[in-house]
């Protein structure tokens, strides 16, 4: 912990290192002057005017320290304060510089941008249980709802080390990366947990061919930083860039890209490590039966070691939005979005608690100048506004009404133009509540064939309303059919319904959630749809097999390639018999 975090006020008032922004400077100045005013008068009243002199050194030091940090923010050394000695022009120039000039938007020689986080939010490296003498650790995911006690955590530094571990393992293995799945997909009780995050190198990159090969522990944000200078962008990924590539491949995630679909569609080839310790290269054309049992298959038969992905041009995109009734969305999508080559990202937001209105948001190709100064999304150390909104929306119906009719209309008033990489660079941190102890935010997702959109919207709303589910948002995505993953969630062209809701963390509430979750799964299944697996395993075995009819093929393959059941996690513990 740095001094800055331990004693933030002392850091602000009495040290000269680092940077502060304009707002902090003004607030600090207000604090310094009002404190001086009060102390001055107290000393003057209690003692003599001369007694007030003792606070002058403090005053001058605090003024100097805050001014120095503000100058740093504009990439100037504190020596510029000497300008004060030039009558009239010096003080005026400094007032402008300190009080009004924006800081540099990138890290400079004095430090990072004030209020910016150094990196994307990361999950811990496994929690230690106090007084425990073994190597057991608790592996949890971002929701903190699914703690799993594992025997040991290992962090392989090289592929050889990983290979050796798999060969010699005497216990089951569970594999984790960013750990942003929400149902124990990265752990199994008493297994050895392999933390893949150290295997994060870029192995090959070709700007001409628009491909990149990375190790599975690399995060999407790491790739973005690597390819952004070359004017390239990731072809398919999810909205949040914190995830590791290996994790995203294992769940076969999707984003908001139009004309694309599951992540598998952008994968050229994989290197995977089998249970016997062999590493083989697989692709849609090379050992395709293994390839389709790896992407989207939750580490059933192999660990993904590295991957070659397609890239796209990093173009500027502009936000467009329109609000409509629920039944108008599908025709709107088919007429304006589906075949529109200029639409890069698209999603629809269904407004709870009545699920009647949808705001369709598209990001379209543009030649306009970006409204953001940075090419990549800057990271904030805290997201107080986002957090407040999330809290307000989840509180009651009035909060949800405020969002639909006041806050969103305001937010969408502003013109937004930025790069594709920027729009794909969200940090999960913006969703993090202050505490997940009493209640927590959880995701679920359902897929239905595109023609069944209205039917599912009706079924889903009815279930949410009947069970009084505290839904914060339902986001609609579109995906083309999967190319063949054995656990494909898009067996044909589908709409996805991403449900973000709030639940309490007690057992009664967990049971309640399980009930309506199974109802929603049945609703999706009745329309030939599916539910998504990275979340809590509330589905029954029968529901699982109805949603994923080719799971049996995968199980057969697992029996053959992983006969001892080395690779384990919640899915295999729950559904693999």
């Amino acid at each position: 912990m740095t001094f800055k975090d331990k004693l933030p006020v002392s850091y602000l008032l009495f040290t000269t290192r680092g940077r502060i922004n304009r707002l902090t400077y003004w607030v600090a100045a207000l604090f310094i002057w009002s404190t001086f005013y009060v102390l001055y008068n107290l000393l003057n009243a209690a003692f003599t005017p001369a007694a007030t002199f003792i606070i002058y050194p403090l005053l001058f030091w605090a003024l100097f320290a805050t001014a120095a940090k503000r100058l740093h923010d504009t990439n100037k050394s504190a020596w510029w304060l000497a300008c004060l000695l030039v009558p009239v022009a010096g003080p005026l120039w400094l007032v402008w510089l300190l009080g009004f000039r924006k800081g540099t938007i990138y890290p400079n020689r004095f430090g990072t941008v004030p209020g910016a986080a150094a990196d994307y939010y990361k999950n811990d490296t496994g929690a230690l249980i106090p007084h425990l003498k073994t190597e057991e650790r608790l592996i949890n995911d971002v929701t903190q709802l699914n703690p799993v006690l594992v025997a040991q955590i290992v962090v392989p530094q090289t592929v050889e080390e990983l290979q050796q571990m798999v060969r010699t393992a005497t216990r089951p293995l569970s594999v984790g990366g960013g750990r942003f799945s929400m149902g124990g997909q990265t752990a199994s009780p008493q297994s050895i947990h392999i933390d893949m995050r150290a295997l994060n190198k870029v192995l090959a990159f070709s700007a001409e061919q628009k491909t990149i090969t990375v190790q599975a522990g690399a995060r999407w944000c790491d790739i973005q930083h690597y390819i952004d200078p070359h004017g390239l962008s990731i072809k398919i990924m999810q909205t949040y860039a914190n995830f590791t590539v290996g994790g995203a491949l294992s769940v076969n995630c999707h984003g908001r890209y139009i004309g694309l679909g599951p992540l598998i569609l952008s994968v050229r080839s994989l290197n995977v490590l089998l249970a016997n310790g062999d590493i083989i290269q697989v692709s849609p054309t090379e050992k395709s039966e293994i390839f389709y049992a790896c992407v989207g298959c939750y580490n059933a038969i192999a660990i993904i070691v590295n991957v070659t992905l397609d890239l796209e041009d990093n173009i500027a995109v502009k936000r467009q939005q329109v609000k409509m009734k629920g039944h108008a969305y599908k025709p709107y999508f088919f007429e304006n979005v589906r075949e529109n080559k200029d639409v890069i990202f698209h999603n629809g937001d269904i407004y709870p608690p009545f699920y009647k209105n949808i705001r369709a948001v598209s990001w379209v190709r543009t030649d306009e100048k970006p409204t953001e100064k940075t090419r990549l999304m800057p990271l904030a150390a805290a997201y107080p506004l986002e957090r407040y909104f999330m809290g307000a929306f989840s509180k009651n119906h009035f909060g949800k009404w405020r969002r639909e009719f006041i806050i969103d209309p305001l937010l969408y008033k502003f013109k937004k133009v930025h790069y594709r990489n920027y729009e794909a660079g969200y940090d999960v941190m913006e969703l993090e509540p202050a505490s997940r102890r009493q209640s927590t935010y959880v995701l679920q997702e359902y897929f239905v064939p595109v023609q069944k959109f209205d039917a599912f919207l009706a079924l889903m709303s009815e279930i949410f309303i009947r069970h009084n589910v505290n839904v914060i948002n339902v986001s609609i995505r579109h995906a083309k059919a999967d190319s063949g993953s054995l656990l494909a969630w898009a067996r044909e062209e589908v709409f996805a319904f991403v449900v973000y809701y709030k639940q309490n963390t007690d057992d009664a509430e967990k049971g309640r959630v399980a009930v309506w979750t199974r109802e929603l799964i049945d609703a999706a299944l009745s329309l030939d749809g599916a539910y998504y697996l990275p979340y809590q395993p509330h589905a029954t075995s029968e529901q699982f097999h109805r949603a994923y009819p080719r799971a049996k093929e995968l199980f057969t393959l697992k029996k053959e390639l992983d006969p001892t059941g080395k690779f384990r996690n919640v899915i295999w513990d729950t559904y693999y018999k």
Binding site: Y37, Y40, N41, N44, A45, P49, Y56, L59, L85, P87, V88
Partner: protein, 328 residues
């Protein structure tokens, strides 16, 4: 220290709530004998007080700086005196005369500028000035300040402040004021302070000069008076008016009109701090303690134009010093 909250005494004391002058003294002269070009609005006698305070205030400073440095001067009390006196005189004229927007605007401009200047000086003197203060004017720079303020006061009694030659004073400060001498820090701190003041006033004065030319006509430098024998006379305006008026009074004349007005006229006098402030044929409007000269106080009194000569003679007899007669 006056910016801070322990008030030792009020800066301006009204003689009563709201309107204190008899209403019959506040009637516009419908048919003046005075030529139209020499007639000025009747409420201007009151509105010129805040304006003239900006002469009285530097005058007090010039006196104060003979014995003290600028660092301990009560700038914020003077700021308060501007606005309080403005408020009080405003209550006397409100509703009795048509509102003189141009004059009010001018008072706001000079009031705000002076408030900014005095606040900045007060803050600076309390935060930086007092660290180098010598109590008495010990440095060549503090003495320069006393001399410059004195000259400035003499100048603005007859001419607009913005015509003062700040530029040559700035040159004078750097060319003719000794750089050597004791109190090294005080010398340089004052040099910095005076350079800032003179430079800012030079620039601001130029701007105001341009602005004034655009908005206001050139002010007349004399005041037309009609005596009891219906003769028209031209007396010098502003500072020298009081002496000229007293002279006519001593010759046995009284006034029928001053600048076309026969309503109330305002004058200020200095009396000892314990004076009871009641004057025959005149109404006290407000009292201001002289902050840099605590044994005296300023009293603003109003009397009808027709009674002015009597009041002046009475004051002369009582040995009371007339500071200013506000000749509209």
């Amino acid at each position: 220290m006056s910016i801070f909250f322990f008030k030792r005494q009020l800066s301006t004391i009204a003689a009563g709530k709201g309107l204190v002058i008899p209403k019959e003294w506040l009637v516009t002269n419908k048919n003046p004998v005075t030529p139209a070009k020499d007639v000025r609005p009747a409420d201007q006698t009151f509105l010129t007080f805040p304006e003239w305070f900006l002469v009285f205030s530097p005058e007090e400073q010039a006196n104060y700086f003979k014995q003290h440095t600028a660092t301990t001067f009560p700038y914020m009390r003077h700021t308060s005196q501007i606005w309080k006196s403005y408020r009080i005189v405003n209550k006397q004229i409100k509703g009795n005369f048509p509102t003189n927007w141009g004059y009010h605007f001018m008072i706001w401009v000079i009031g705000v500028s002076t408030t900014v200047e005095y606040t900045a000086k007060s803050l600076y003197e309390n935060i930086v000035g007092r660290l180098t203060d010598t109590g008495q004017p010990a440095t060549a720079e503090d003495q320069f300040n006393a001399k410059y303020t004195q000259d400035y006061v003499a100048f603005i009694k007859d001419l607009p402040w913005y015509q003062f030659d700040f530029k040559s004073r700035l040159k004078d400060l750097w060319k003719n004021t000794s750089l050597s001498g004791p109190h090294f820090f005080r010398k340089w701190e004052r040099r910095y302070m005076l350079t800032t003041e003179l430079a800012v006033k030079f620039i601001y004065g130029k701007l105001i000069g341009i602005g004034t030319k655009q908005v206001y006509e050139v002010a007349l430098l004399n005041t037309a008076v009609v005596l009891d024998d219906d003769s028209l006379h031209y007396l010098p305006r502003y500072d020298k008016f009081a002496a000229a008026a007293l002279e006519l009074a001593q010759q046995g004349h009284s006034f029928k009109e001053i600048a076309g007005n026969n309503s109330a006229i305002l004058l200020t006098v200095w009396v000892p701090a314990d004076h009871k402030t009641d004057f025959a044929n005149a109404q006290t409007v407000f009292i201001q303690p002289i902050t840099s000269y605590p044994t005296m106080k300023r009293v603003a009194i109003a009397t009808p134009v027709s009674a002015l000569s009597g009041v002046l003679l009475e004051l002369k007899k009582a040995g009371v010093q007339v500071e200013h007669v506000f000749d509209f």
